[in-house]
Symmetry: C2
Amino acid sequence: MNQADKPRVHISAQFNAELEGVRNDLMTMGGLVESQIEHAIEAALDGDSARAENAIELDLEVNELERSIDEQCTRILVLRQPAAGDLRLVLATIKVTNDLERIGDEAVKISRQAIELSEGGALESASARVRELAVSVNSLLKDSLDSFARLQVNEAATIILRDDDIDEAYTAAKTWLTSEIQAHPETLEASLAYLGILKSLERVADHAVNIAEQVIFLTRGVDVRHLDTLVVRDLVS
Amino acid sequence: MNQADKPRVHISAQFNAELEGVRNDLMTMGGLVESQIEHAIEAALDGDSARAENAIELDLEVNELERSIDEQCTRILVLRQPAAGDLRLVLATIKVTNDLERIGDEAVKISRQAIELSEGGALESASARVRELAVSVNSLLKDSLDSFARLQVNEAATIILRDDDIDEAYTAAKTWLTSEIQAHPETLEASLAYLGILKSLERVADHAVNIAEQVIFLTRGVDVRHLDTLVVRDLVS
C-alpha cells in the first residue's frame, strides 16, 4: 500500500465503523420493542400490571434510541455524503427507526389497556383470541427485523404476504368481539380494551410490513409500497 | 461575473429549482390529504357514501405523490449532497411526507366507517361529538401545514400545545360514547364506527404534531420529540 492510500483507507474504516454502530443501535432498538410488545401482551393476558408498567418504562429507552439513531444518520449524511448503496441504507434506517418507535407506542397503548384489565374484568375467551393474534404478530415482527438484519429479500416479501392473513384474523376477532358485546353488554369496558389491543396488534403488523418494504427497497431498489401483491409475489423465489 | 462562476450559478439555480419542486409537491400532497379528511368527515356526518368513495380514490394520488417526493429527495441527496440547512430540509420533507401518507390512510379508514354508517344507523348525538373534534383536528392539520410552509416556529410550538386539548376532547368523547353503548346496546355497531372515527381523528392530530416538530427541528435544530411540553412552551414567544 502506498502512502497516498492510507488516509482514504482510514476514513473508510471509520465510516464503516459508523455504519456498523448505527446498525447495532437499530438492532438493539428492534430487540427492545420486541420485548416491549411481549411484556405488554403477557401483562394483558395475565392481568400483571407490574409487567405492563415495565413495558411503559422501556419506552423511554426506545425514544432515546430513536433520537440517537436519527442524529447518527444525519451526521453520516452531513460528514460522509454517502453514495448509492450506503445512502439507501441510511435512509432505510431512518424509516425503520420511525416504525420501531411507533411499535413502541402501540406497546404502551396495550400496556395501558392491560392495567385497566388487571383492575378486574379480564375475559377468558377474548384473551384466547388476543393470544392467537399476538403469536402471529410477534413472529411477523421478529422475522421482519431478521430480514432487515440479513437483507433477505425473499423473507421480506413473505412478510408482506403473511400480513394478509393477519388482517383476516384481526377482522374475524373484531367481528367476534362485537357480537360478544351484544351478547354480554355488562362486560363492555373489558371488551373495548380487548378491541383496542387487537387494533394495536394489527398496527404492529403494518409496521413490520413497512420494515420488510425497506428490505426490498435496499436489496432491489424497488419501492413496493402501495403496489399490488402480485409484484411482491414475484420476489418470492 | 467571470466565466468560471457561470456553471456554479447554473447548478445552484437548478438545485434551488429542485428544492422548490419537491416543496411544491409536498404542499400539493398536504392540500390533498386535508381535503381527503374533509370529504371523509363530511361523508360520515351526512351519510354521503359517494363522498366517502371520493376520499378513498384520492388516496391513490396521495400515495403516488409520496413515492414521487421520496424519489426526488433521494435524487437530491445523491446528486447534490446538500449541506446543513438544505440537508435538514430534505430529511424533514421525507418525514412529513410519511406523516401525510398516514393521514391519508386515516381518511380512508374514516371513509370506510362512513360507508358503513350510510347503510343505516347514523346517530345524531354521536355525529355532533365527531363534528366538534373534527373541527379542531382539521384546523390543527391546516395550521401545521402552514407552519411548515412558512417555517414559523411559534405557530409550530402552539400546535404541539394545542394537541393536549384535542387529546382531552378525544378522551371525553370516547367516555361519553362508551356510556352511550351501555345505555343503547342496540346501536352498538354504529357506536363502534363513531369510536373508530374519533380514534382516527386523534391520530391525524398526532401526525400534525409530528409535522410541527419537524418545523422546530428545521428552524431551531432542536429535536423536540418526546420532550417535556415545558421545552416547547419556551419556544412560544
